[in-house]
């Protein structure tokens, strides 16, 4: 009887040990996993908001996860408003930045940002252009015809939605501040689409439209090529750009660039339990390595239009 009791006790002890081991295993796994994540350095990428923070997060989280996976760095996504970008970058809120090409120039001139790679999207690849459009049949066919007309621009820091067109007019001896009857910038998100529709529906006579947005809207069937006159087109300029703070080591910049340049349309990443195509999810067709001198046309435009980083009062 005593023997039976002992064996019962030993059986209970074994069960207790087994249960403890089973409970401890996942806890240990979690702890070791946490330690691995903690081991990875943490860095932040500031992404310029095009339309909204939600859109920025949805577009760039998978790409950021892919960069983390490839570079073994825990990258965090920081959505940034265009107007706040320089201030937050100079305050050290993020080490890497993805912004339009005018912001890159501003950060290069004022904060010594290092150029990493340029995003490719649309027919111009890593480049884009600005256009001035009017409604077909309006009789507005060249810049002289803009005299006394109502114009709508894209956001002020948009290289192909504001700067390029402003510069085009100045180059033609047309001062938008004096020669236009009135000009405006739409409120809220989707400004580039709004300016195109502003002309389409007759709210404005002419608009500053990026060539890429016209292309996308035509492709999606929202407008047709025959709806508008392209009154003028700027020279081609680099599109959205990845850059790094001057404090980021040259070797990391090179590794970051290589990862971007090697991404192909079939590259995928595991994100939130899904296998996602990196480029598709970010609305990008690839990346290209341009040189800083490729951005000189934007420098010339900004100087001519008295815009940052060369603005003088």
């Amino acid at each position: 009887m005593k023997g039976v009791q002992l064996s019962m006790e030993s059986y209970g002890l074994k069960k207790l040990l087994l249960a403890t081991a089973l409970l401890a295993l996942p806890v240990l796994m979690i702890i070791s996993g946490c330690e691995n994540v903690q081991d990875r350095p943490v860095m932040r990428i500031g992404y310029m908001n095009c339309n909204s923070e939600a859109e920025t997060l949805a577009r760039f989280r998978p790409l950021t996860a892919y960069l983390s996976e490839q570079l073994d760095i825990d990258f965090k996504v920081v959505p940034v408003d265009t107007q706040d970008f320089e201030e937050r970058f100079s305050a050290g809120e993020f080490e890497f930045g993805h912004s339009n090409s005018l912001l890159y120039i501003m950060l290069k001139e004022n904060q010594q940002m290092q150029l990493i790679a340029t995003e490719k999207r649309g027919q111009y690849g890593a480049r884009t252009a600005g256009t001035i459009i009017s409604r077909k049949g309006s009789g507005i066919k060249n810049i002289e015809d803009l005299k006394g007309k109502r114009m709508v621009f894209g956001p002020q820091l948009a290289p192909s939605g504001y700067l390029a067109q402003y510069d085009l007019m100045l180059q033609a001896g047309f001062d938008p501040e004096i020669d236009l009857d009135y000009y405006a910038i739409p409120h809220g998100s989707f400004k580039h689409e709004k300016v195109v529709y502003g002309v389409y529906f007759g709210e404005f006579d002419v608009a500053a439209a990026p060539a890429l947005d016209l292309e996308l809207m035509t492709r999606e069937g929202r407008i047709t090529a025959d709806d508008f006159n392209v009154v003028a087109q700027s020279e081609v300029i680099p599109y959205c750009t990845f850059g790094a703070a001057s404090t980021v080591s040259e070797s990391l910049v090179q590794r970051f660039r290589k990862v971007l340049l090697d991404i192909t349309p079939s590259t995928t990443v595991q994100f939130n339990g899904e296998t996602i195509k990196v480029l598709d999810s970010a609305w990008i067709s690839g990346f290209e390595q341009l040189s800083d001198s490729d951005y000189d046309p934007i420098r010339r435009m900004a100087k001519n239009a008295n815009m940052p980083p060369y603005q003088e009062f």
């Binding site: 252009a129 016209l214 035509t218 492709r219 090529a225 340049l261």
Partner: protein, 179 residues
């Protein structure tokens, strides 16, 4: 058996159908120009189709050619975008897009468009074709090849490597012969 009028009409219809079939099989009824066409030389048929195709493309894309001549590049690209919907994958869209991009200094993308167009339709390097663009493509290769090689000496990037590959492809298509 066929005392009923309705049955007789049916019988008459069946007989009529059988007679027509017999006549058709015997070749007594004209079936259009089919026999005549089959007697035509297939090479003539092929040449006609090729010419019709080239004429169609040149006529359809004429507004884009005019825009390019007027340097209205943004409008020309938008028009090509529209054609892309009606004729997806058409090489003529690619060749024209290539020439617009090259004219605007977008070299890598332009070269890629030329190479893709020639891959789909060899007429662009055939000097006997009305779609022939040999001179334009030769000029592109001669001007771009040294520059691309030079830039690869300083920095090797996937896009410049791709451009070099595309230029070699165009060069080999211009040379012709066995591959």
């Amino acid at each position: 058996m066929f005392s009923d009028l309705f049955d007789r009409i049916h019988l008459l219809a069946v007989v009529l159908v059988l007679v027509v079939i017999a006549l058709l099989l015997g070749g007594f009824i004209d079936r259009g120009d089919e026999p005549l066409r089959s007697k035509r030389d297939p090479s003539v048929e092929r040449a006609m189709q090729e010419r019709a195709r080239a004429a169609f493309l040149l006529e359809t894309y004429q507004p884009v050619d005019q825009m390019i001549a007027d340097k209205r590049y943004a409008e020309a690209l938008l028009k090509l975008q529209s054609f892309e919907k009606s004729y997806p994958g058409e090489a003529h869209s690619m060749i024209l897009r290539g020439s617009i991009l090259i004219a605007q200094g977008v070299v890598g993308e332009g070269i890629a468009q030329y190479a893709a167009a020639v891959k789909v339709n060899g007429d662009y390097v055939d000097e006997k074709s009305s779609l022939n663009r040999r001179n334009e493509i030769t000029l592109l290769v001669e001007n771009s090849l040294p520059k691309i090689k030079e830039s690869l000496r300083s920095v090797v990037t996937p896009s410049t490597e791709k451009s070099l590959k595309n230029l070699y492809y165009l060069q080999s298509r211009l040379a012709g012969g066995c591959e």
